[in-house]
Amino acid sequence: MVKTGDKIETRNLNVYYGNFHALKNVSLKIPERKVTALIGPSGCGKTTFLRCINRMIELTDGARVSGEVLLDGMNIYDKDVDVIALRRRIGMVFQQPNPFPMSIYENVAYGPKIHGVRDKRKLDEIVKESLERAALWDEVKDKLHENALKLSGGQQQRLCIARALAVEPEVILFDEPCASLDPISTAKIEALIRELSRDYTIVIVTHNMHQAARVSDYTAFFMLGELIECGSTPQIFEKPRDKRTEAYITGRFG
């Protein structure tokens, strides 16, 4: 197994929702510029884990986090870490495509604008480049100023990816990005994720094991809030070490 260095590392990460212990002592390393898939049955904590990485978990009422999440060796839960700066470096794409009710252009330009890019030419450039990287440019270049909500579901999701790319993150978190999409749109997003992994560290939560097998380099299996097993994707799918992983992979529960 060739390691390129770890971009993110969690140490003894615990999350509680009130009295419910949602994530139990998870320690996981996420390698740089690779796709890491998080799989497991519903309620296993994979989305909770994902939302810890950019501290979106703090938006959930009553959620408490303990343990460490290191980004390039620095704990993002340290008191003096600015969550805004953190989220610029870690983008996120959600389960339901959630473009803003603005034009396509404004959606992509939103991030750079709020982070201080004012120059129109520079913005145009960022928008074009981001849409190109999200493989959406050719489909929308003639209607950049139309409302984003007019796009199809798959296009909306790629727009959300472009919107995330526009703030030049280092990591992109995908939370079941294809859950609401048709097979053709799904294939496009998957190809895009593979493509993006050349430049970005990607973490994807999916309930679709085939998708995990198709897009990821590494896979982590969660169950009931615990990290059961992690390793290279071929190893997890072909030679799982844990019985529970094997049971899940072969479709005996979940």
């Binding site: 980004l71 620095m74 003096d80 870490v81 600015d82 700066a85 953190l86």
Partner: protein, 290 residues
């Protein structure tokens, strides 16, 4: 690689704006706390058993406010007598019988229209139609009916929501047992919707208690010393007395008495509303418990 710490100037400006937003809520709360505190502090001093239970002398400058309490309760009772059957009946029709067609959309449109009529216009209408045309005179009946027109849209809306919130399965269960539609509505739907309807009725009642303009136009502004008996009697009411004392009193004593009247009126308003909130909360909890 970008640092994870510190953003500088922009953050300071944001904190300032957020501080403004954070102060807005206490300001709003404070305004109303000040109003309540003022009325409680000044009103409590004049309120005695005698003030509450005796009749006024010298056009309300002395004596008590008992006839006005009776008058207010009487007017609101008449109002409810008209508003509740009409409002709940309309709500049942809209929620249970009507299919969405031109008739219901027309009905809804007119209910919205009625909701948009300023209370003073309702008062004028009461004056020409009820007081003069129907020859009810300045009376409790005229005032009560005019108030009923005012709160009717409100009663319909809240009751309809309550009825629509009753799960479909309840209706189906009853119908499947061979109950007729009306039996189902009466025995099952209305029973489940009752807390919601009661909340709506109470909120309407709270609104009717304090309405003044309608009363000035349909009941007159006399500070009557008589305790009304017939619905065709004229009567003094708390809001009208408060208005008269406040604008014509012009002495420290009159203002103090006005505070007392305001406190009684406010207490009635608060009791009705808090009771409505209580009923609604219990009802929400019951549904969440299911």
């Amino acid at each position: 690689m970008m640092p994870l710490r510190g953003r500088g100037g922009a953050a300071v400006r944001e904190k300032f704006i957020e501080a403004l937003i954070f102060t807005s809520a206490p300001i709003v709360v404070l305004i109303f706390v000040a109003i309540l505190a003022y009325i409680f502090a000044n009103g409590a001093r004049v309120i005695t058993l005698e003030f509450l239970l005796s009749t006024p002398r010298l056009a309300g400058m002395e004596g008590g406010i008992f006839p006005m309490i009776v008058g207010s309760v009487y007017v609101v009772a008449v109002c409810m007598l008209f508003a509740v059957p009409l409002g709940v009946g309309a709500a049942i029709y809209l929620a249970e019988y009507a299919s969405e067609n031109i008739i219901t959309s027309t009905i809804r449109f007119f209910i919205d229209c009625l909701a948009g009529v300023p209370s003073i216009v309702i008062g004028l209408f009461g004056l020409t139609f009820l007081v003069h045309f129907l020859k009810l005179g300045y009376s409790i009946l005229a005032a009560g009916v005019a108030l009923a027109f005012m709160i009717l849209p409100w009663t319909v809306r809240v009751s309809e929501e309550a009825i629509k919130a009753v799960p479909r399965s309840y209706r189906e269960a009853s119908l499947a047992l061979g109950a007729t539609k009306w039996t189902t509505i009466r025995r099952v739907v209305l029973k489940s919707a009752m807390p919601g309807i009661v909340t709506g009725v109470l909120l309407g009642l709270g609104r009717a208690i304090g309405e003044t303009a309608v009363l000035l136009l349909t009941l007159g502004s006399a500070a009557s010393a008589f305790i009304p008996t017939s619905p065709l009697d004229s009567a003094g009411t708390l809001p009208v007395l408060l208005y008269v004392l406040a604008t014509q009193g012009n002495t420290a004593d009159a203002y103090a008495r006005a505070c007392g009247v305001a406190l009684v009126l406010l207490a009635m308003f608060l009791v009705v509303n808090i009771f409505a909130l209580y009923v609604r909360n219990r009802y929400i909890k019951r549904y969440e418990g299911l």
